[in-house]
Symmetry: C2
Subunit: 376 residues, 2 copies
Amino acid sequence: MKFELHSTDSRTNARAGVITTDHGQIPTPIFMPVGTAGSVKAVHQRELENDIDAKIILGNTYHLYLRPGLDILEKAGGLHRFNGWNRPILTDSGGYQVYSLAANRKIASEGVVFKSHIDGSTHHFSAESVMDIQRTIGADIIMAFDECTPYPCEYSYAKSSMELTHQWLTRCVKRINETEPKYGYSQALFPIVQGSTYKDLRIASANFIAEQDQQGNAIGGLSVGEPHEEMYEMTGVVCGILPKDKPRYLMGVGTPENILECIALGVDMFDCVMPTRNARNGMLFTTQGIINIRNEKWREDLSPIDPALGGYVSTFYSKAYLRHLVINKEILGAQIATIHNLTFYLWLVRSARERILAGDFREWKERMVKIVSQRL
Amino acid sequence: MKFELHSTDSRTNARAGVITTDHGQIPTPIFMPVGTAGSVKAVHQRELENDIDAKIILGNTYHLYLRPGLDILEKAGGLHRFNGWNRPILTDSGGYQVYSLAANRKIASEGVVFKSHIDGSTHHFSAESVMDIQRTIGADIIMAFDECTPYPCEYSYAKSSMELTHQWLTRCVKRINETEPKYGYSQALFPIVQGSTYKDLRIASANFIAEQDQQGNAIGGLSVGEPHEEMYEMTGVVCGILPKDKPRYLMGVGTPENILECIALGVDMFDCVMPTRNARNGMLFTTQGIINIRNEKWREDLSPIDPALGGYVSTFYSKAYLRHLVINKEILGAQIATIHNLTFYLWLVRSARERILAGDFREWKERMVKIVSQRL
């Protein structure tokens, strides 16, 4: 993996770059659609490529490990071969889902024992096993095994959890160094900064993570319920420490506004279930603002969903038709809304990149934040 | 609407023809995907056109009348404009859904009073109102308002129900003749033969329907639970009476085997929820036979779904991946299986047409019936 910085904004910390992986290039800033169990919900692989033009997608280690299972993924030659997505894939470490979905989880320094949310079977994740699992899934970018603290979080817990995450990281790095990629292409490890909303912990963690000198770095434990101002403050502090020549990935963020603000703070990569999950409930992010398509006001609106955005679904289908589909729980409603929202998110980061390169990112961002967060 | 008969098979009663409507041509025999509430579930309109190559789809009057409602459909300029499907649409009369879905339905000679299955509101369908509704939906082919008898059905009930259907038909024809199409293109009325599984009633009904001299004719009240042999017998009797120069539509049929057998009896048009509904449960119709993709035997089968069928979904995605999606209730599983099944159904009727024109339909049909009905 290689990262080239093409431009840094002079009036914010926004950056435009390109990550090169063995599965292709990723212009940054970038948004990564979430493909939990090997599918970005309601979207065909060709639509992800041709309509949305996603450059990289995310897979969830916890889900993929349970289903379809590592034996099938290995037999297929990795997730790319299994699901037919030939551009880069990043997998999370599985930790977050173990904490949020699995039952009876027990965290110890060795790792985590948990019961599957599907069938109650017992499993064990450790720093080492999670590296091996991600090698087998075949991720281009492997995330370190971490503990993601909830919000609010006591200082003492945040500190000891951060220390555990750092210990695990040392073991993750060792394991990655001792093992080889399984399918002939390289797999980069990204460590994760933790430390909850405590500035001193975030500084300590960012320094520890920076010292690992891995190919990219991530910021975890944010967007878990804290006020946006705290998220921005922590992100700003951490971005000030993480090396400039490595991509920075802010995990699980966020709204279009969050993404624009965090690009300005120096973040290069984002992922979030919001555009996909909210789409299935009828919430649309558009170039004019946010639409709840279930509202009565769209019932007779025969205009296209978002003509300014362009693309098949946003210009072909009307708001009234999409509302009808969503109200009737038609699968096509989820399909249209998901493609639309992801197309919008990819447009947003692509536009941000163009503005950074053009040198007028700050003005555009200030104007755009107002537009994309208004409710229509 | 115009119907040209291109060829009649010399050893069966199979026919190859073309129906011409103001929204384009329909080669026959044809299968019509069901788009209940204005959407063929899990399929984009461009996929229906480009992947499946559907020539005509079906809409359900009962559903469309309740939602989105006639005001929106009229404002849009009809269903074609509302959902963006520019090829022909056939609508049923709403009768079947009133009997099967609505609550507290009361059938009288005037019409049917029923309560919506959505909100319990009271509505009234009559021969006249159902013609007006279908005019407003903008169907290219309008179905007469009928009563569909259940199976089994007492002779006396079947007879009086058939007589009611005939009375209603007279009123439907009158209403259609007194009114104009709403959107500038022509709308044909198809009367429906009833009579349950009683040969004398079917003969009487077919003669009555033939006398109406409408642009096409339908056979209703079959595929409601009777043995296939009874369905084939009634279909054969009715096809022997209905005029040769008009298309014949067998409503709600059926399995690939049913379709092939009924093509041999002289049927030109089919519709059924089977390829779409069963797809969502993981049942696939393929060129090699029937697959329950949920079965363990497909778990590690990384071969394409149906390479012989061709097309994006059937060749791009593997059986193992589709199984994984269906087991996990991923929306993409329903999307892939639906496109696959409909592509197969359209391939089946297209192939039948080619064989009728080539003169070897019977041999092909005998061979194909065995293949498409075997369980893999």
